[in-house]
């Protein structure tokens, strides 16, 4: 038990600390790297809570794919650090409002959990104990039966988002000489090479 205890506090402390560094770091690339560290420690906390599937999905999806693209974009930006700091006071009211709202909502959630610890499970299906069914099975059984329509709807929303992103960035370019692999592989010697017998001193027209 002691090890779990220590592990939880290490993960939680690093998680909060690096989340703080995301907004405090001067260099945006460092911010993204700290964000990745935050994700990673959140995954660690998931593992401690017995939600291994969620932990691994968090690492695969957020750390392995989303944050890579984040990093990709941030590295490419040509950022003027001095200019970046200038608007700080101007954005402070909005940022502070959003932050305060989030804080109040989080406190409400925590308050409900403290007030009636079973409230979280009231609307959902009960989760079978971990010893009897691995949580991958449990999640799958729930998602593909009870929440099938919602699951499909989420998929549709993602599909629409993807199509939207493609439509927004797609532009027709003319004059592109695209390689047609099929045409290239399908070529025969007869299409490409011609044998000519050239008599001495006459030359040849091709």
């Amino acid at each position: 038990m002691l090890i779990q205890f220590i592990a939880f506090y290490v993960f939680a402390a690093v998680c909060v600390g690096s989340a703080l560094m995301v907004i405090a770091a001067r260099n945006p690339v460092h911010s993204v790297l700290f964000l990745i560290l935050t994700f990673f420690n959140a995954a660690g906390i998931f593992v401690l809570a017995g939600a291994e599937f969620l932990a691994m999905t968090l690492v695969i999806v957020y750390v392995g794919a989303v944050a890579v693209l984040f990093l990709f974009v941030v590295m490419m930006l040509d950022i003027n650090f001095v200019r970046l700091r200038q608007g700080f006071m101007q954005y402070l009211p909005i940022g502070a409002t959003v932050g305060a709202l989030l804080l109040v909502e989080l406190l409400l959630v925590i308050g409900i959990v403290v007030d009636s610890p079973d409230a979280g499970g009231l609307g959902g299906a009960p989760m079978p104990p971990v010893e009897r069914q691995s949580n991958t099975h449990a999640l799958g059984a729930l998602l593909y039966t009870r929440y099938m329509y919602l699951f499909q709807a989420a998929g549709m929303v993602l599909l629409v988002a993807m199509i939207g992103a493609i439509v927004l960035t797609y532009r027709v370019r003319t004059g592109v000489r695209k390689q047609s692999i099929a045409a290239q592989v399908g070529r025969h010697r007869a299409d490409a090479v011609e044998m000519k017998k050239v008599a001495t001193g006459t030359g040849v027209t091709l």
């Binding site: 002691l2 291994e52 690492v59 750390v63 392995g64 890579v68 990709f72 590295m75 390689q179």
Partner: protein, 337 residues
């Protein structure tokens, strides 16, 4: 005090012993993989390969290691020192911690995780950070170009790799790596899922930035990509990490498709040989293919690489997932059905 010994100290010592028992052979095989690669390539190109240091050049890896250690580590003035030094450590560390869930024999695994496949997939998808961080922190154009290529390439090939893993999981019904191996007792998955095995192996080549997909470090155009500014042991760690990743990917292919520690046929002379030996032999065979591919194929062009990933492997593996699921349900072969 008694609780301390039985509860923490003895399990702790036992885990460290297990880790060392896995790590030392792993690092030795990484060292000898470099020797193996040079020897095999040399034989394929009618050369001798390393043959001066020790018999058949067998001490060459150690000579290289000593050279790496005693050289000076140079950090470029304009580099970002923290990230610059973190990148090689990350690459090497990730290549090593993935082995925690690898079942080298029946029950011979450090952590028998229920979501072992996902863990391996997650760790291997993190490998891109070492390269990207190295490329950015070096503050050099070649390194940065290499990092960008690597990021795009690894993210692209992960998608089809994920689908390949799903089609294997459909046949097993478990995410536990030991269960996956045990499910192959009747037939190795390489036979019913041959196209997926090929897709997985080629994606593994792309994930490890190996030839013919070594565009991130293409020495003829990018000098050495993200490795340009690295010297001595920082370079050494990248090098070790890359080769450990090759062994890891071969191990993953072995577990998913070649029946892990199982002998090819379960009859007398074959099942006398212990499981870990079979596992090592299968990995060695796959590593030979890694080297063979390097000596055979020219490097892909970047657009061809992306086309292969997105337009060939992705639809193919997606189709195969649907097909596998359909067949399993239609014939009632689905595990746990």
């Amino acid at each position: 005090m008694g609780e301390f010994w039985s509860g923490y100290a003895i399990p702790g010592i036992w885990i460290v012993t297990k880790i060392l028992a896995l790590l030392i052979p792993l690092l030795l095989s990484v060292a000898y993989l470099t020797w193996f690669e040079r020897k095999v390539m040399a034989a394929m190109q009618l050369r001798m390969g390393p043959n001066v240091v020790g018999p058949w050049g067998l001490w060459q890896p150690f000579a290289d290691a000593i050279k790496m250690v005693v050289k000076e580590t140079i950090i470029p003035t304009k580099a970002n020192p923290g990230v610059f030094l973190l990148a090689p450590m990350l690459t090497f560390g990730l290549a090593v911690i993935a082995w925690a869930v690898m079942p080298v024999g029946d029950g011979l695994v450090i952590s028998n995780l229920n979501v072992g496949v996902l863990y391996l997939f997650a760790i291997s998808s993190l490998g891109v950070y070492g390269v990207v961080m190295a490329g950015w922190a070096s503050n050099s154009r070649y390194a940065f170009l290499g990092a960008l290529r690597s990021a795009a390439q690894m993210v692209s090939y992960e998608v089809s790799m994920g689908f390949v893993i799903i089609s294997v999981l459909l046949c097993v019904g478990s995410l536990n790596l030991s269960d996956i191996v045990r499910a192959q007792e009747t037939v190795w998955f390489v036979f019913p899922l041959l196209p997926m095995a090929v897709v997985f192996f080629i994606s593994a080549l792309a994930e490890t930035n190996r030839h013919p997909f070594d565009l991130p470090e293409a020495e003829s155009e990018l000098v050495a990509g993200h490795l340009v500014e690295y010297s001595a042991m920082t370079f050494g760690l990248f090098f070790l990490g890359e080769y450990a990743n090759m062994i890891l990917m071969s191990g993953m292919t072995t577990v998913l498709f070649l029946g892990g520690w199982l002998p090819p046929i379960d009859i007398a002379p074959f099942n006398w040989i212990p499981g870990p030996i079979w596992f090592a032999l299968k990995i060695a065979a796959l590593l030979f293919v890694f080297v063979w591919v390097r000596a055979t194929f020219p490097r892909y062009r970047y657009d061809q690489l992306m086309r292969l990933g997105w337009k060939v492997f992705l639809p193919l593996s997606l189709l195969w997932v649907v097909l596998t699921a359909g067949v399993l349900v239609a014939f009632g072969w689905a595990p746990g059905a």
